[in-house]
């Protein structure tokens, strides 16, 4: 292994391990503030460090500290302590490991070698995701069973039945997609989506497989046990479902596992149906060839974007009801704006150096990869927001409605979709 191999491996593993965990903070924040936004209230915005609240992100830190320092209780009635402790570990680990096969940039060609930018550079792709995600149900079952509590057991039963039955439409929707792409390798799938349909529409999965996309997204919501399929924790009926007997860090593991699973399934949805790391109309080859053009466009776009963001920060950081002499909100906002401009200037400098020194092959490819990582993260963030959006918009299904939707609507629809897709693919080829 050369030095380059080692560096690339470290980058891959770090990305695949840390990005889901970092997104935890973003997503918990998005959930709470998004919920507040949709319900027309502020959401948590008081916790601060030296007066800086970071739009409420500091609240996560406070919550995390609270959970970490809570007493780690194992209720006395629990007989199988090993499984009781193992369950949250399984849920959290599975959620992170299943992200390992998602590509976050196009295959990077450096020094004559092509590096797949995935946590684990395997061409198993979506099969890896399916294989690992299947284990999440063990965490739920073990938690429900070992809690030795009626509510916990009911929650575990519901969750397990739901996850097992929604895996079928998920897999069937995937089959019709794989017929179109002709590969299971996620990097290959995303590369396929870089093409253009009729010369101007990006060939994203959602364009080629609209029905499949809907089925997959619905099934993915159910797999993540999110509203409208969160009967698992139906508070009004079974209190909190399978995590009723958990507290402190063990509860936090379940909580984090849920959000990481949400992130992973957003990443998979984006990779399969929304072009993954592909920037629409900007293929990797184009970016590598016309690096200077891309860099100049970026250098123009960055300050404009920053200007808009600054306007937004100003608008939201003032007290509308009580004009004060030295408003702490305004003080906070000025610092954010300074930091933002500093970041923009730094980026501009980097880009300028890049422009002057000249874009060699390797540098251009790395720049393209960085842009693709940014695109991927933006898309995934938006998909995560869709999860939040749906959660605070739709009511919960009844249990029989949930199973009927899975077995009587989604499965026949996905079978029909496979049939139609197969026919079209055969006719067109």
């Amino acid at each position: 292994m050369s030095l380059l191999d080692t560096v690339i491996t470290i980058i891959r593993v770090l990305f695949a391990a840390f990005i889901p965990v970092c997104f935890l903070a973003v997503m918990v924040w998005m959930e709470r503030r998004g919920c507040g936004f949709i319900q027309d209230r502020s959401g948590p915005n008081r916790a601060n460090v030296f007066g800086f609240r970071l739009m409420g992100i500091v609240q996560n830190l406070a919550d995390g500290l609270k959970l970490a320092f809570k007493e780690d209780v194992i209720p006395a009635h629990i007989k199988y302590k090993f499984y009781y402790v193992l369950a949250p570990v399984i849920v959290f680990t599975i959620a992170i490991v299943s992200f390992a096969s998602v590509p976050f940039a196009d295959a990077l060609v450096l020094g004559g070698k092509s590096y797949l930018m995935q946590g684990i550079p395997t061409d198993l792709g979506i099969l890896w995701f399916m294989a690992i995600v299947g284990f999440a149900v063990y965490g739920i079952i073990l938690a429900g069973w070992s809690s030795h509590n009626k509510y916990g057991m009911l929650g575990g039963l519901r969750a397990a039945a739901q996850v097992i039955s929604y895996e079928i439409p998920l897999g069937l929707a995937l089959i019709s997609l794989l017929i179109v792409y002709g590969t299971v390798n996620l990097t290959g799938i995303v590369q396929y989506q870089g093409q253009l349909l009729f010369g101007f529409i990006p060939m994203w999965g959602v364009v080629l497989q609209p029905l499949g996309a809907i089925i997959f997204i619905v099934a993915a919501f159910a797999e993540a046990n999110r509203v409208p399929f969160d009967l698992v924790e139906g508070e009004s009926e079974i209190v909190a479902g399978f995590h009723i007997e958990y507290s402190g860090m063990k509860f936090a593991m379940f909580f984090m596992g849920e959000y990481v699973a949400m992130f992973t399934s957003s990443a998979i949805i984006v990779s399969l149906y929304f072009g993954g790391f592909q920037i629409p109309w900007l293929s990797t080859a184009f970016m590598v060839e016309h690096t200077r053009l891309v860099v100049i466009l970026l250098m123009i776009a960055l300050p404009l974007l920053a200007y808009l963001v600054v306007g937004w920060i100003r608008k939201n950081n003032r007290n509308r009801f009580l004009p004060r002499e030295s408003d702490p909100d305004v003080f906070e906002a000025t610092w954010y704006i300074r930091l933002l401009w500093a970041a923009v200037i730094l980026l501009e400098l980097v880009l300028l150096i890049f422009l002057i020194i000249g874009a060699g092959g390797a540098a251009a490819r790395i720049l393209a990869a960085c842009l693709q990582v940014a695109t991927f993260l933006v898309k995934v963030t938006f998909m995560c927001f869709v999860y939040v959006w749906v959660r605070w918009t739709l009511p919960r299904f009844r249990y029989d409605q949930l199973q009927r939707l899975g077995w009587q609507t989604l499965i026949p629809l996905s079978l029909l979709n496979i049939f139609i897709t197969g026919a079209i693919v055969v006719v067109l080829s």
Binding site: L127, M130, A131, V137, M153
Partner: protein, 169 residues
């Protein structure tokens, strides 16, 4: 070196898991130790560069079938006092071990007698999704379809059996 280590780990764990399935009294313990066996076997497939088989082992056996079994164990919620008293278990275990011992010696001898052949590594793309699919749908199409009919028969049989019980009520 790493491969040898992994191989030893997977082999040991698969045997230990199978042992646990027989020895543990509570069905949940048995199911979980069997799960370890299934995962270790998937690891062995991966070491043999049979990628698709690795994924399928995890998806179908470890992911789907075992989770169904564990689900049923949870559903029945068996308490330790409801389990049958297995008084003859030790006798069967020891007797079985004694009966299998000569076979094991024989197998070890056979393996030691194997001629020392040069090891050839699997070619590029061996065991991938495409290669296995091509073999299935060209050379082994008829057996493949017959197996799928077998599965269909089992499925219909299960539905018929489940339906009959409903009528008797």
């Amino acid at each position: 070196m790493l491969v040898d280590l992994l191989y030893t780990c997977f082999a040991v764990f698969s045997v230990l898991g199978a042992l646990g399935l027989i020895i543990f009294r509570h069905p949940m313990n048995g199911a979980m130790s069997f799960l370890i066996t299934l995962i270790s076997i998937a690891g062995l497939y991966a070491l043999l560069s049979a990628k698709l088989l690795f994924a399928l082992q995890l998806i179908v056996y470890a992911g789907a079938i075992m989770s169904m079994i564990v689900f049923i164990i949870m559903f029945l919620n068996i308490q330790p006092e409801e389990l049958p008293a297995e008084k003859t278990k030790v006798i069967y275990l020891v007797g079985g071990a004694v009966a299998v011992l000569p076979v094991a010696f024989f197998l070890i001898k056979v393996i030691k007698r194997l001629p020392n052949m040069p090891i050839s590594f699997a070619s590029e793309g061996f065991g991938g999704v495409k290669e296995v699919g091509l073999i299935f749908f060209t050379e082994w199409l008829v057996p493949f379809e017959i197996v799928s009919i077998l599965l269909l028969v089992a499925l219909v049989g299960a539905v018929v059996l489940a339906g009959k019980r409903e009528k008797n009520k």
